[in-house]
């Protein structure tokens, strides 16, 4: 009958079994290259100032057009 494994025995077996292994060289190199390529990708953030300016100019333009149209189609006001 097999004897039960003692703690020290088990630790010895663990030391023998769990050895560091090395990843393949090609993997290390290709991953490094990929990471460097990724770093070259520039993520452009939206330009909020430009967006605000565009919205504001749109609003101002719209109001101006409405005012001009009102002047054009409301001759009474002109006569007064």
């Amino acid at each position: 009958m097999k004897q039960k494994i003692e703690k020290s025995d088990l630790e010895k077996k663990l030391t023998e079994a769990l050895n560091p292994i090395s990843p393949q060289k090609e993997f290390i190199v290709s991953l490094r290259d990929n990471l460097q390529k990724k770093a070259l990708v520039v993520i452009e953030k939206p330009d909020y100032l430009l967006m605000i300016l565009m919205v504001l100019s749109g609003l101002v333009g719209g109001v101006l057009i409405l005012w001009l149209l009102q002047l054009f189609f409301n001759p009474k006001r002109k006569e007064e």
């Binding site: 097999k2 039960k4 494994i5 703690k7 088990l10 630790e11 077996k13 663990l14 030391t15 023998e16 079994a17 769990l18 050895n19 560091p20 292994i21 090395s22 990843p23 993997f27 290390i28 991953l31 490094r32 990929n34 990471l35 460097q36 990724k38 770093a39």
Partner: protein, 190 residues
């Protein structure tokens, strides 16, 4: 100033450079840690393809979130282990761990002069041991891998696992106790 403090300052300088977008600095951190992280993931997943895939994701995530690192106040490698642990946990949760562990991959031949019989015996030992380790809860597998594969002290393991040194010591003893139970069962089967 002793050499230990000097080393730490050097490392911090590299990390600062990496945070500011220096590719070479990140490359240095990558070279220092790639083998450790790969090993950890390899033993947690049990196969080369997933180990490579998850290792790549660890470093991609680290590169993306490197600005968050400083807040953790732990060594850079410990931060990487935490990322690796989270990714492996997700991998197990998503049920991608169905592939069987190829035994030949696990056997590390220290000497080329090992006799076939001895090798066979060793393969078998490794096989039942790995089989038993995989039955353990994730945190217990993590303790064993960090201790035996990465040769970490209880204090270092504690930093990675966010536990005290005492808690790791106690977890390790409970792990051995549980593992011994499984090993005895598995050994009878083999």
């Amino acid at each position: 100033m002793n050499s230990h403090t000097g080393d730490r300052q050097k490392k911090n300088a590299i990390i600062d450079r990496a945070i500011s977008g220096d590719e070479e600095a990140f490359g240095q951190l990558y070279q220092e840690n790639i083998k450790k992280i790969y090993n950890y993931i390899y033993y947690r997943t049990g196969n080369k393809n997933d180990a490579e895939d998850l290792t790549a994701r660890v470093f991609q995530r680290a590169l993306k979130h490197i600005t968050r690192y400083k807040r953790t106040k732990v060594p850079f490698s410990a931060w990487l282990y935490r990322i690796a642990h989270n990714l492996v946990a997700n991998w197990h949760r998503d049920g991608k761990n169905k592939r069987e562990l190829p035994i030949e991959d696990h056997v590390y031949i220290k000497s080329n002069m090992v006799m076939p019989e001895k090798q066979l015996e060793k393969n078998q030992t490794v096989e039942y041991l790995m089989h038993s380790i995989r039955k353990l809860p994730q945190n217990r597998q993590q303790v064993l891998i960090l201790k035996y594969v990465e040769n970490m002290s209880n204090r270092e393991i504690g930093v990675v696992m966010k536990k005290s040194e005492g808690a790791i010591k106690s977890l390790y003893h409970r792990t051995l106790k549980e593992l011994r139970k499984y090993v005895n069962k598995d050994e009878l089967k083999f």
